[in-house]
Symmetry: C2
Subunit: 638 residues, 2 copies
């Protein structure tokens, strides 16, 4: 192998093998390792712009490390002598000077961190009884005139499985499996109706399932053992459709341009899920062929696009859904790589803007079972809100927009490494402290940090109850820039972007529009159900954004009605949990169908009070301050 590699190497170049990828690349002498990682598409951190300042692009040279130039001053500052001897270097500084073979490890801490996402959510108690079942079948050998499939079906029937069909892919290997297994075989059955796969009894492998949660910004996947319900791996990737539009509406518009473009949107998300399946199977060292069931949840537009269904009309009033019931299609028919006979089960959506991710959330929180009134809220580009109990659930979707995710905000960013996520302002001198995700130097500010900022700015009277800056205050942090008032959260020298990080008047307006939508949705839903905020005995907040917001600050800006905050439970990614439950329990899978069918949906925009409510909710915390007695009392503003 090594000699082969040597032979094929380009003349005058060094072949670098990146670990743990194991991918080789030929580079010319004089190139830096950072150049090489970029050519290879290895995402490595280099926020300082290759200047050797941030020390983030740490790599470890292995075999052939003598081919590199000696460490620079900058590198000597960054590493101890022992570390340098061990091969630690900075990719931006380390140049290759001689020809040969060099192995380079890119450690996890040097890789670009994925968006901080909450992959796991709460799971209720339940009995593992999936739709996929393995059964050992002893076949009768001496039946010359019978076909192999007849012999199998008869044996299945004797084992209580009647009216069973056999997938063509299982039939394909049937003659060999029967004889390899000496007439003792393991059959993997779907829904007691179809044989998906057959193995010689002693060679039966794992029986795995994969739950997929297609979010607008991220795609999460969960590899589970269908025999014991164990979660083997939870993985996620950004939704690659982002390059075709940040939000749903722009992706639907892209689809609408041509069918070809639409199919492209489908293909790239399918590719992303295939990568998740592949990665998690590799991690657990199993074959993708052992994945026998897949469930998919997501908002309705994502659901449609995933299955290649035209989402064109989902984005137009009255937002008609193409298919509302759950359905099963063969994974291979949409290009998913699992066992060739595997079905994909699409959990049912409720409405154009309340998808199967919400149904999954209801399943995971079990609010459909409870006597007491619950509320489930998942805040993203849209906030889905469900209120009710075992007798009736009602839901709506509030168009919050992407501001909470950092879009349309001057220094806004997603909740990933370097994002200011917590802010505190000293009411005396407006000195501002902050905390970033991963405690690194700030690159920007994410949703929870912006909410904190606005709440603190309001408390400290820097802004008024409609978000205007107080002209009378004089403080270096308050200033006008490019025609807009702003407040400096982090000074240039504190940041990694060499600029002040600020919150502007416009940023505040964007956030107020978003919070007003969420508040209005929750309020109208309560009104319709004749409930007060205090009636909500079990408020659940799910999703990544919800998990990291400061409840007191959110309430201060009036993001939702004054539900007693001490009751609130954070549930994490319940969409993923619900998908796993549907994988692991046949009963809960059909329960999801009932939930989708029986949950009422109200269309916020068509509610007669919507406009007035929305306008009043743009105030901090609300134009009708009596709706927020606790907040007003706390602020001393009642």
């Amino acid at each position: 192998m090594v000699s082969d590699t040597r032979r094929n190497r380009k003349n005058g170049s060094t072949r670098i093998t990146f670990l743990p990828e194991g991918k080789p690349l030929d580079i010319k002498s004089g190139s830096t390792i950072l150049d090489a990682t970029r050519k290879m598409g290895i995402d490595i951190q280099a926020p300082c712009g290759d200047l050797g300042l941030c020390g983030r692009c740490k790599i470890i040279l292995g075999e052939g490390k003598n081919l590199a130039e000696p460490p620079t001053k900058t590198e000597k500052k960054n590493f101890s002598t022992k570390e340098l001897n061990d091969g630690y270097r900075l990719a931006c500084q380390c140049k290759v000077s001689e020809q040969g073979l060099l192995s380079v490890t890119v450690p996890p801490e040097s890789r670009i961190s994925q968006q901080r996402i909450v992959i796991q959510g709460i799971m209720p108690q339940f009995q593992v009884s999936p739709i996929i079942k393995d059964t050992i079948i002893e076949l009768k050998k001496k039946q010359e005139s019978k076909s192999d499939s007849e012999t199998l079906l008869e044996a299945l029937s004797e084992n209580g499985f009647t009216d069973v069909s056999i997938d063509i892919d299982a039939i394909r290997r049937l003659p060999d499996v029967i004889r390899e297994g000496n007439w003792n075989i393991n059959a993997t059955l779907w829904n007691n109706k179809e044989v998906l796969s057959l193995q010689p009894k002693d060679k039966a492998g794992q029986t795995l399932g994969f739950a997929v949660d297609i979010g607008t910004t991220k795609v999460a996947g969960y590899l589970v053992d269908l025999k014991n319900g164990k979660l083997l791996a939870a993985v996620s990737l950004p939704n690659p459709q982002i390059s075709f539009g940040e939000d749903l509406i722009s992706r639907i518009a892209y689809w609408t341009e041509s069918e070809e473009k639409g199919i492209n949107l489908q293909k790239i998300v399918i590719g992303c899920v295939n990568k998740l399946i592949e990665d998690s199977c590799k991690r657990f060292d199993v074959s993708q062929n052992e994945v026998y069931d897949i469930t998919v949840v997501g908002n309705t537009a994502m659901h449609h696009i995933f299955f290649g269904i035209s989402p064109k009309y989902v984005g137009q009033s009255p937002f008609p859904v193409a298919v509302k019931n759950s359905f099963n299609v063969k994974a291979k028919d949409i290009g998913l790589k699992a066992n060739p006979a595997t079905y994909v089960h699409a959990l049912p959506p409720i409405a154009g803007f309340v998808g199967s991710d919400t149904v999954a959330g209801i399943l995971a929180t079990e609010i459909y079972k409870q006597e007491k009134i619950s509320m489930l809220i998942d805040i993203g580009t849209n906030a889905e809100i469900v209120i009710g109990n075992k007798d009736k659930l009602t839901c709506c979707s509030a168009p919050a927009g992407p501001a909470f995710e950092g879009a349309k905000i001057k220094h806004g960013m997603r909740a990933s490494s370097g994002a200011i996520e917590t802010v505190w302002i000293n009411p005396k001198n407006l000195d501002t402290g902050f905390k970033t995700i991963d405690e690194s130097k700030p690159r920007g500010i994410c949703g929870s940090g912006i909410i904190d900022s606005i709440a603190q700015l309001f408390k400290t009277d820097v802004i008024d109850n409609i978000g205007r800056f107080n002209n009378k205050l004089s403080n270096p942090r308050i200033r006008n820039q490019e025609g807009d008032a702003e407040f400096v959260i982090a000074w240039q020298n504190e940041t990694s972007i060499n600029k002040d990080i600020t919150i502007t008047r416009r940023d505040i307006q964007e956030i107020l529009l978003a919070k007003a939508a969420v508040y209005t949705g929750t309020h109208i839903l309560l009104e319709r159900l004749n409930l007060t905020p205090n009636d909500i005995e079990n408020p659940y907040v799910s999703g990544a954004f919800g998990t990291y917001i400061d409840l007191a600050n959110s309430l201060t800006i009036g993001m939702f009605p004054e539900i007693p905050t001490n009751r609130i439970k954070f549930t994490g990614n319940t969409a993923g949990s619900g998908g796993r439950l549907a994988l692991l329990s046949e009963k809960l899978r059909s329960k999801a169908d009932k939930i989708a069918k029986n949950t009422d949906h109200i269309e916020l925009a068509s509610d007669p009070s919507f406009e007035k409510e929305f306008t009043n909710a743009l105030w901090i915390p609300h134009r009708e301050t009596k709706r927020f007695p606790t907040v007003m009392k706390m602020l001393g503003k009642h």
Copy 2:
């Protein structure tokens, strides 16, 4: 378009566009058109070895014909002045001398003739009522909270179609189709169970079906209109698996070597069927997307390989079949190109060596309905024989081997252009006359010609009743060559291969082995059923070989028991007819299942009398001459 072509043409070359293919190719000046056809993969006849002798490679120059060199002497001999003016040339002679654009038509008579095959078979009277139905559905527009699929399913239910599912590919376009069709749509339903496709009411296209008959040597396809039962096109191609083995056993051996090789066998036959679908759709100017149903018949090994099912054990005693019932798989799941939602229906086989082609034959001849005793015989590498009536049918398969198809015969060839198909020998002087297919100069001799020859050689006492040449006769046609006795059918100067075409002692042995197998099968079947040859009131001979054999000569050599020849009916390719019937009638489709289930199969090799019967049947017409009283009487040998 033309200017584009001009722009992209290689410098210094002529771009030839071959018609009717419409494929362009750039060739250098000085090349012949024959070189170009070969590069393009256009099969053109040139048996004389490019010498201008046979005149078979006729082409017609069109636009740009001045770019070719003037006609050669040879060409002037072959064509009249008018023909030359019209552009007629010989591809092997005609060179391109100048650069530019030239169109060349390759007429059908110049193309390599396909094997002469009998594509069509008899069809009984029946009512067209296919499993595919088109229905116009008027949807209710104002149902905002309903999903499009719910709206459709409700409307279908009101039209009497309950418990219907919708194929994912139909769902994909559902939102668009509903609105394009202004809520009036045409639904294509499969088996009243599944919506395969939807079109706006005014844009509904054709509703077509395609029946496939997979033979060991040829693949035939039939494009039919599912609305009126009309046959639109009947097409065929050689089975491309031939390059992996002439007979079933060698293909099964190839499959057994590795799974990969097996899948390759599947892929190439699927590719062949795709070509047939494509060609017949083009011929009729319809889209492959309008093909909504496909039926497949074939012998059991071909059936298994077609669906990717391991045929390994079909070739080993006791010849177990993987799947005997009929089944449906989505065409896309085996790579067939039709409408994406189309099902392929595999008709059921009866046993390892009696396939669904026999079931189709029973369906087409309606022997399963008749009071009188019928016999259906289809002679190929295996001869399938069915005897019985409406109460009971019994079948067997006799291993005739490939001799009837010209294999293992010195000058043997398939029944295609240039094959001697009929032979007559003057008993006085052994002068021999013959007729070839297409009346061209002979290249070899095919099955029917060999049977004629043997019968005549026996009648004229050139050979005895075990096929030995008569030493006492002296005639230039009887000679020894390469240690084997032989008889000259055509002299060198009469043939196109510049060699004598002969029948050897070994050829005769091969044919006697083949005919003995067919006789023995038929005889044992009759014995088992307690019938005499005379009890067969409706003898049917199907298949290409059967259609062209001379009955009297076949009976003379004892190919089957002495059934009164005047009763025999030739039915053509009943396998194809049966496949079409299953496409066009739901009832006949389920009838095929019943036929397969209720037809008894006997294993010839395990019959105690088989060996003795087979040995005695090697004689001409039979060792027990009393079994052939009519033949013996005719020969004056009783």
